[in-house]
């Protein structure tokens, strides 16, 4: 026990814990890992757009005039600037070099609107799932661990909420919120978030119910841990592992719900760039043959949802140990005659490829 020991072991222990946390990933089957990587690439791409929209977008989200020296400095939009000095962006022009995704009836550049839309999508998704998680997880933990009448009451309440279709519930909440607050990011986030509280609650509560019966929870009681300690240090860390999966899958769903809200006019107010809103405003264009105003925001919604779903499905495979072994094939060493068995199992061994074989 040298005086420096604690410091060294602190680093070592941190490293050990990181390794432990990453272990499911390393053991995961390659297909699941590929899903997660592809999903993360797509999601990450939109994430970049959301954080740095101005690095990519040539125009601001609600910019309808070219400003002098536009392409160099698109942000200095001067509303008072005269028609002659600052010409307006033409309406509804087809995708061209200056406007790769075309423009809308409001003279907005679709390309820029799609990029700025990522910001709203991410903000809402993060805020709403944070809200849902912040309420659903502790409630689920508490209710599952305590049990009894409170648990029954909460389950009934959550089931009642769960029965209402997500979008409908979001609309109702958004509608109520509109009466008291200005519409905006926050109220849209709350409207979307409420939908997901029951999901977190149910998953966490059910998981808590089963973890609660594990001998290590009784062991914690036997060493004198208070219920709060048992919940936070013994139960919590064993139930949170299901949260990332719900999170990503909910996030995908939240993008759709938000788009739905926007489409129906209960989302963020115009002229904020939001994909659902843009699709909705482009409805009349479609019948006139101006396909690009609805097409590109629609593609963006689809891509982001796909990306998040891939991450979620991949994580589910990785975190759920039962699915983890899937995809690995064993191989008995060939006896002296190598040829006959080889063909029967050949095509099933595609995934083996990179791993070392022992003879």
């Amino acid at each position: 026990m040298t005086p420096t020991a604690p410091n060294i072991s602190r680093w070592a222990s941190l490293r050990r814990r990181m390794e432990h946390a990453l272990r499911p990933w390393r053991r995961a089957n390659p297909m699941a890992r590929r899903l997660v990587v592809v999903g993360l690439l797509i999601t990450g791409f939109f994430g970049f757009l959301a954080v740095f929209p101005n690095a990519v977008a040539p125009y601001a989200e609600d910019q309808y005039r070219f400003v002098e020296g536009t392409t160099d400095d698109p942000l200095t939009v001067d509303a008072d600037c005269a028609e002659v000095e600052c010409p307006q962006i033409p309406r509804r022009i087809e995708p061209t070099e200056g406007h790769p995704f075309g423009t809308t009836a409001d003279r907005f550049d679709v390309f820029s609107r799609v990029i700025h839309g990522a910001r709203v999508a991410f903000a809402i998704v993060l805020l709403s799932t944070a809200l849902a998680m912040g309420i659903g997880v502790p409630l689920g933990l508490f209710s599952g661990y305590r049990g009894g009448k409170l648990d029954r009451a909460l389950v009934t309440l959550m089931d009642a909420v769960y029965v209402i279709p997500g979008l409908l519930l979001a609309i109702i909440v958004a509608f109520v919120l509109q009466r008291y607050f200005d519409p905006g990011l926050a109220s849209a986030a709350v409207a979307v978030g409420v939908v997901y509280i029951p999901q977190y609650y149910r998953v966490i509560r059910n998981h808590t119910l089963s973890v609660k019966e594990e001998p290590f929870v009784e062991a914690a009681r036997s060493i004198g841990a208070k219920p709060r300690t048992v919940i936070t240090r013994y139960v919590f860390f064993n139930v949170v592992q299901s949260v990332p999966v719900i999170f990503t899958l909910n996030a995908a769903d939240a993008v759709l719900t938000l788009a739905g809200l926007g489409f129906l006019g209960y989302g963020v107010p115009f002229p904020e760039a939001e994909w659902g809103l843009d699709v909705s405003r482009a409805l009349s264009d479609v019948v006139s043959g101006f396909w690009w105003t609805a097409f590109f925001p629609g593609v963006a919604i689809m891509l982001l949802v796909t990306g998040l779903t891939l991450v979620g499905e991949g994580l589910n495979d990785i975190i759920n140990p039962l699915l983890r072994v899937r995809g690995y094939k064993g191989k008995v060493p060939d006896r002296d005659e190598p040829a006959p068995e080889a063909d029967a199992t050949q095509d099933e061994h595609v995934t083996v490829g990179s791993r070392r074989e022992t003879r």
């Binding site: 899937r326 690995y328 064993g330 008995v332």
Partner: protein, 357 residues
Amino acid sequence: MSTPVTFASPDDRDRAGPILEVRDLSVAYGTPQGSLHAVDRISFDLHPGESLGVVGESGCGKSSMGRGLMQLLPPGGDVGGSVKLKGEELIGVGRRRLRHARGQDIALVFQEPMTRLDPLMRVSDHFVEAVRAHRPDTSKDDAKQAGREVLAAMGIPPTRADNYPHEFSGGMRQRIMIALGIVLNPAVIIADEPTTALDVIVEAQILDLLDRMRRTEDVGLILITHNLGIVAETCDRVAVMYAGRIVEIGPIDDVFANPAHPYTKGLLRSVISTDTTELSSIDGAPPSLIDPPCGCRFEPRCPEAFDACPSVDPALTEVRSDQHAACLLYPGADAGSTTDVVPPERDAAEGLQGETR
């Protein structure tokens, strides 16, 4: 039950011929780190009416061996080698033949009976289904009648044949499972830890039942267990498995009285019995089966290891009549090696005598 060993002597057995011939059976599973060789080229024979105990600790491959015999492996499992039932090769045959063989010729008895019984079906209907799956022209009544008879032989009152599985206790369910297994008069029964979930008294009842049955019906019984006591009480021969291999196989009395392999010796010493006065155990842990060591797999834990052990893989060799061990202490075990293996001064015979009491 006059003599302790009632099955045929070696000569008689040769005449009858083995009912099951297993040669170089291997089982491997897929893991992220590579193939896990749970069973590695094991060979043995089973004769009609004989009961062979397969013992070993968790992870030694004994259950995988049982599943490999029936080719009932989880996804990702691979099986190789040869399993001959009455001279007919089972490895590599079609699914239809295999399904027919499981049940008709080979019955399986598992540890958890409830998971194998359909909770929505009456016990008698299980029998109808089992019998008619293999003999489609049996009438329903005949099948039920056959079921009632084996159930009665297993100690289940005929009045309860139409009850549902959940109305029975754990021991009764295991009796039902055994009855289901034998209703088609199979040639071989593979019982994988059939009594692990049961209490000692019920365990003894079930083992008595299995023992009586294989004697009267001339069924070959493979009893897979971790409990040396169970093997000693029910089996004629015992195969000791370690790290996917059979390290010792032989008649029960010989192996228990004069164990040849150091692992068998250690295992027998570590059993806590009613007359135990001193505790003993085997230090260390079994090797990884993903990348097993090239020499003797028990060498790192072996108190009798010498210089050749880490490099030469021992083969089963006859130590005494019918008793085989895979240990370099005995001549002939170095069959696969190119160099001569010379055990140290304290040679095999002496070491063996020392253990004999």
